[in-house]
């Protein structure tokens, strides 16, 4: 009974995956909740796909645990009607038609056959349903993968990089699809390496880098914390403007391409100052630091941390041959 009233939680506890020496996923602990879109963000090779494969029981964790409503994936008796997943693109036999591919999936979980036509309709592949999937474009392949995830009308959906290879119309469609799935009370867990994409769809954000958890926060929090606003100015009278701003106690930073940037939301004040002192402005605009930059900073730190900790301290490095040449 409880399965019908609460559920749809994916819980990771100290999840770790090691391939020999390399740690792909390092002690991940977080929870994915129903009713919202949870973005799973990280640069390429951060361990997103490995984590998702462990959720689905495809890869065995080296340590830690991942459970879906308290169960391991292989304990689910109705996997496809419980959790649907889009993994890497084109995870199917190219010689089989889209219809037959979905049919064999439906049959393996006792899902009514009419559902195959319905999901093909949903993803817009009805016209090519009987064609071999070998000839599918990347976008069509992505749609077929999404059809497979939706087949069992599951309460949990996982999408690994769903916008890859989709055209703008397709990207728009998948964004709306994920939002509407979440609004129906489903759990939507979607990975991406694009912060901008996540900013548009995700309500909650889990960021990993080099397999380690870097952030587990609501999207609103992440934006508030990371998107500082600033004013961008372009002027042919740069020295004059800098003087004016300095006198007014405003610090401007020169950026590489000849523009000035001022922190905080003071566009009006700067405009009035410039007018009063007769400074010509070519641009005066309020800007928001992109979330992409914030994300890059966040993940770059993790990369740097690893690089430094692995390298020997500089003072111990001696020129080559020093040890034997002088002795």
């Amino acid at each position: 009974m409880s399965r019908f009233s609460v559920g749809g939680m994916i819980e990771l506890e100290g999840l770790t995956k090691r391939y020999g020496e390399k740690v792909a996923v390092n002690n991940l602990t977080f929870t994915v909740r129903p009713g919202i879109v949870t973005g799973f963000l990280g640069p390429n090779g951060a361990g997103k796909s490995t984590t998702m494969r462990m959720v689905l029981g495809l890869d065995h964790p080296t340590a830690g645990d991942v459970r879906i409503d308290g169960k391991h994936y292989d304990q689910l008796k109705d996997p496809l009607t419980y959790i649907g997943a889009l993994l890497e693109a084109k995870a199917w036999h190219g010689g089989r038609s889209a219809y037959n591919h979905l049919l064999c999936l439906a049959q393996s979980n006792g899902i009514p056959q009419q559902r195959v036509r319905e999901v093909l309709e949903t993803v817009g592949l009805t016209a090519v349903a009987r064609k071999k999937t070998k000839g599918f474009s990347m976008g069509m392949g992505q749609r077929l993968g999404i059809a497979g995830a939706l087949l069992g009308d599951p309460r949990i959906l996982m999408f690994d990089e769903p916008v890859n290879g989709l055209d703008p119309e397709g990207i728009h469609w998948i964004r709306n699809l994920m939002k509407s799935l979440a609004s129906q009370g489903r759990t939507v867990f979607v990975s991406s390496h694009l912060m901008s994409e996540m900013a548009l769809t995700a309500d909650h954000l889990v960021v990993i880098g080099q397999g380690r958890l870097l952030a587990d926060t609501s999207m609103a929090d992440f934006i508030a914390r990371n998107s500082k606003s600033y004013v961008r100015i372009r002027t042919p009278q740069r020295e004059l403007l800098l003087d004016v701003l300095h006198t007014a106690g405003i610090t401007a930073v020169e950026t590489g391409n000849g523009t000035l940037e001022v922190d905080g939301g003071k566009a009006e004040q700067i405009g009035e100052l410039a007018a009063r002192h007769g400074v010509v402005l070519h641009e005066l605009s309020s800007q928001q630091a992109s979330l992409e930059e914030a994300f890059m900073q966040l993940t770059a730190e993790s990369v740097e941390y690893h690089a430094h900790s692995g390298a020997p301290p500089a003072e111990q490095q001696r020129p080559w041959g020093e040890g034997w040449r002088r002795s």
Binding site: P34, P79, G95, C104, S108, D153, S183, Q184, G185
Partner: protein
């Protein structure tokens, strides 16, 4: 939110578009929840095997080889044998050439049934749909074995009937009929099943097919070049237990008088396949997909 969901299977017309703002805290699918079992996996695997062209190709070439070579051999023998020279021959035995060559097709199909899923990435989808890996392997094995057995039996039976009708040989006994049709078909289907299992272990189509064809041909070829006196026993064993010779045992036509006889080849193949199956199952459970 307090409305309890009826625990019985939902009989109402499915409404795929769940009402937005539904009163349930979590989404409840209108699709009736089915506890999956082996039957589901079998239906799924049947759809898979019949919906790819490689199945039609390999089985088509198999039938062509078995029936074509069988008929050609019968015609050739019938045309070139003098009266009464075949009196003591088992007429069914002329089907063995086609079956030996045709077994390559069954090997290929068996390997492709498992290994191609690794090549295409389909295996991840399969194992997500059915997380019980043993069930997947079992379903593949059963579906493939039945298909291979039925097709081999039909082809072998056709050739046998033509042989008996065309050749001026003695009437085969009931036991010979059984061994020459059902027996050899079981053997070839098992050889295919072994290939399927090897495909699951190797996870690479070309590699697994090479191994299996090597297994069929290598013992005989190696034995041919064993001239040393001290290796005579080994040479003898390689001849006797080579798969081509095991095939001919089904027609009581072994290369030698010792070695496997009667139904022995079937039990040997059964044992080898069972052992390989156990190994494949263990690896499947242990390895990442």
């Amino acid at each position: 939110m307090s409305t309890p969901q009826p625990p019985m299977p939902q009989t109402a017309a499915p409404n795929w578009q769940a009402a937005p703002g539904s009163s349930y805290p979590t989404y409840t699918s209108p699709i009736p929840v089915v506890r999956t079992h082996l039957g589901h996996a079998l239906t799924s695997e049947w759809t898979k095997i019949r919906s790819v062209r490689s199945t039609m190709w390999t089985l088509g070439v198999f039938v062509l080889l078995v029936v074509g070579l069988g008929l050609a051999t019968a015609a050739l023998v019938a045309g070139n044998s003098s009266d009464g020279s075949l009196n003591n021959e088992n007429p069914l035995s002329f089907g063995v050439f086609g079956l030996l060559l045709g077994s390559m097709c069954i090997i290929t199909l068996g390997v492709l049934t498992t290994a191609s899923e690794y090549g295409t990435g389909m295996i991840r989808t399969t194992m997500t749909a059915c997380p019980s890996r043993g069930r997947v392997l079992a379903a593949k094995a059963i579906v493939f074995f039945v298909v291979a057995f039925v097709v081999t039996l039909a082809s072998a039976l056709l050739v046998a009937l033509v042989d008996v009708a065309m050749l001026d040989a003695r009437e085969p006994t009931g036991q010979e009929w059984l061994k020459g049709t059902v027996g050899i078909s079981l053997y070839i289907a098992l050889l295919g099943l072994l290939s399927l299992v090897v495909g699951s272990i190797i996870r690479h189509s070309a590699g697994a097919i090479t191994i299996m064809i090597g297994l069929v041909l290598a013992p005989l070829v190696i034995a041919l070049f064993m001239f040393a006196e001290s290796l005579q026993d080994l040479q003898q064993a390689l001849f006797e237990y080579s798969i081509p010779n095991q095939l001919s045992v089904f027609y009581s036509q072994s290369l030698s008088d010792s070695g496997p006889s009667g139904w022995d080849p079937l039990w040997i193949m059964l044992g080898v396949t069972a052992a390989a199956f156990a190994g494949a199952y263990g690896l499947l459970e242990k390895r990442d997909v």
